[in-house]
């Protein structure tokens, strides 16, 4: 069995804690994600998917419970340490791509390297060229994001998430605003990197077609996990 990347035990999240409008949105979540897994998180709106993803992504701290990132208790760490852990172990893909318009496609892919090394380097460029070629954007590398289509932008975002070879990529509805054909292409790319690089993926999705093609489906309802099983159609 592969090493665990994240281990969540009895994770709870309460918003507006200690006030009259306090609301617990996650009630004791237990998930372990291992290297190389390709999992998705499904559930109706308001079930706490995004909150859980933000929690796993170290963007929000849990109210209670234990979170081990690569066997290290991370929720007590300082903001700077959690930021560094994000840079080194996690990659993010969001629904609305969120490329930086001030940077070209290839520079967007080189941004994580710029954060790590403090400068744009030749190695980062070579790596970014390789990734962009792999996502089929060899001809659009120097274009600014606003000259790329939605699908192309999302492919750049995937290349960016993979720039520093993270252990886990978190994707929040990565195909949410793409047409079916483009969504399939983007999904296939993630699958491709999962298989060739061994990067683990956790996708949040509303699309049952895509969920069916994941190795593992975690279903969330009202802040509780109601299903966590290997997908029926998975290989």
């Amino acid at each position: 069995m592969n090493a665990a990347i994240i281990e969540l035990a009895d994770i709870r999240k309460t918003y507006n804690e200690g006030t009259a409008v306090a609301a617990e949105v996650l009630h004791g979540i237990n998930i372990t994600l291992r290297a190389g897994e390709f999992a998705c998180l499904i559930g109706p709106s308001g079930s706490g998917k995004s909150t859980l993803l933000n929690l796993i992504g170290l963007l929000e701290p849990p109210t209670a419970g234990s979170y081990l990132l690569k066997s290290r208790a991370i929720q007590q760490a300082s903001d700077d340490e959690r930021t560094r852990a994000r840079l080194e172990t996690l990659g993010f893909v969001f629904q609305f791509h969120h490329l930086l318009p001030a940077f070209s496609a290839i520079e967007n892919v080189m941004l994580p390297g710029l954060m790590r090394d403090g400068a744009f380097t030749r190695e980062q460029r070579a790596n970014a060229q390789q990734l962009l070629t792999a996502v089929g954007l060899a001809d659009a590398m120097d274009k600014p994001p606003n000259e790329l289509s939605g699908g192309m932008q999302q492919r750049v975002a995937i290349a960016r998430a993979l720039a520093l070879a993270p252990d886990l990529v978190l994707a929040d509805e990565p195909t949410g605003n793409l047409d079916t054909h483009t969504a399939d292409e983007v999904f296939a790319l993630m699958r491709h990197f999962n298989e060739t690089k061994g990067t683990a993926f956790l996708l949040v999705t509303h699309d049952p077609r895509l969920a069916a093609r994941c190795d593992r489906v975690i279903e969330l309802r009202d802040g509780t996990i109601v299903g966590d099983a290997a997908s029926k159609t998975s290989k």
Binding site: S50, N54, G57, L59, E60, D79, D80, T83, R84, R86, L87, E88, F92, F94, H98, L100, P101, A102, F103, L111, P112, L114, M115, R116, D117, G118, A119, F120, R160
Partner: protein, 405 residues
């Protein structure tokens, strides 16, 4: 800092018109600051030059003589209630010859001119005029008073028997170059002197007030053998004269007077002007700072999502803070560079346009590197300070929320 520089520069470039406008605003603010500082500085120096005439920056005179009661006990004070003030005689600065090398070694003093001055009468035929007879040594006196530029006829040479008088005095007496006049003082019956030169100080009463002779004849006429009535000093820093005078006052028993003490009205006028410029500069700086701050506040709002994504990708709060501080500093620095250039150009053009009554330049376009260096440093600091609030706001953004917006 590579990440911060790259992102800050890209954000500014992306800002486009917004960045151009605020840099233009900063440029104008800085240009006006540079212009009024240079303009007013020159104007003040010029005003002092014109008003002071031949007055020295610092004058050393013998201390005033005071009458003291013989016995200074309370009982004696009661018995002698009235002590008459002493009349001030013309006396020499005590030990002035030993004082000169000490003054010469004092930093800040550029010239020392001994003067033997006292009351006298200038006579030609039936015409008598009272006059202050000034005994000078020409070379140091020129250095202290710029007297050389005031000579309008003849030359500044004072051999024994030579005298220099003002234009109005010459007219009053009806004399010209080479004519003889008689100079006498209460302590000497007087002698004949030849008019060697005629000066014009620009003020009629001053042109009638002084007759210049060599130091030795003046000493003889004023009964000050080997003595001087005052030492006049030139300093390298006009506005530091009072400070220097205060230092000298502590080390010697003589009366030391700076031009500021001698001309309190002029000084008050100048300080009012200085206060005004400081105020104008302060408010211009404030306006620039508010402009920079408001542009950056808007930029933070516009870039909320991008800040969120950068934070999610692994940029620390500190880095985001520095990205925005750097933008403020860069706006300040570029505005200052352009503003200094425009300010100098403005000063240069205005100095050619503005002329005073006699056609000379109202002020000179002096290039003072110190002003430009200070302005640059201050503008960068100002940009940084203006950026603090927006930068902190950017750094405090919650990445999870920022992305969702």
């Amino acid at each position: 800092m590579g990440f911060e520089w790259t992102v800050a520069l890209r954000f500014l470039r992306e800002g486009g018109m917004q960045t151009l406008m605020i840099v233009a605003g900063t440029t104008i603010g800085i240009a006006v600051i540079v212009f009024i500082t240079t303009f007013l500085g020159d104007l003040q120096r010029d005003l002092i030059k014109r008003t002071l005439g031949v007055q020295a920056h610092i004058v050393i005179r013998p201390a005033e003589e005071v009458a003291r009661p013989l016995r200074e006990t309370p009982a004696a004070a009661a018995a002698l209630p009235q002590v008459q003030a002493r009349a001030q005689r013309l006396r020499s600065v005590d030990q002035w010859q030993t004082l000169v090398p000490v003054l010469r070694a004092t930093p800040g003093i550029t010239a020392i001119s001994p003067i033997a001055a006292g009351p006298g009468i200038i006579t030609r035929g039936d015409s008598n005029k009272t006059v202050t007879i000034m005994g000078i040594v020409p070379a140091p006196y020129i250095a202290v008073s710029r007297f050389a530029e005031k000579i309008v006829a003849g030359s500044l040479r004072l051999d024994p028997g030579d005298v220099l008088i003002g234009t109005d005095m010459a007219k009053d007496l009806g004399v010209g170059l080479g004519d003889k006049v008689r100079l006498s003082t209460p302590t000497s019956p007087g002698d004949a002197y030849q008019v060697r030169g005629i000066y014009d100080l620009g003020i009629r009463s001053l042109n009638r007030a002084y007759a210049y002779v060599g130091l030795a004849p003046a000493q003889a006429m004023h009964a000050l053998p080997g003595g001087v009535s005052s030492l006049e000093l030139a300093t390298d820093d006009l506005f530091g004269a009072e400070k220097l005078a205060a230092n000298l006052r502590r080390t010697m028993p003589h009366e030391v007077e700076s031009w500021m003490q001698a001309n309190p009205q002029l000084l008050a006028g100048l300080s009012n002007q200085t206060v005004m410029t400081v105020l104008v500069r302060f408010f211009l700086g404030l306006v620039v700072a508010i402009g920079v701050a408001s542009v950056l506040v808007v930029a933070v709002v516009q870039k909320t999502k991008e800040i969120g994504i950068l934070r999610a990708m692994g940029a620390s709060r500190g880095r985001i803070l520095r990205v925005f501080l750097l933008q403020g500093a860069l706006i300040g620095a570029s505005g200052a560079l352009l503003g200094c250039a425009c300010g100098y150009a403005l000063t240069y053009v205005m100095s050619n346009i503005l002329r005073s009554g006699d056609g000379t330049r109202f002020f000179a376009a002096n290039f003072d590197p110190q002003l430009y260096i200070y302005t640059l440093v201050a503008a960068v600091a100002l940009g940084l300070i203006a950026a603090v609030m927006p930068a902190r706001r950017a750094a405090r953004l919650d990445p999870a929320q920022a992305i969702r917006i």
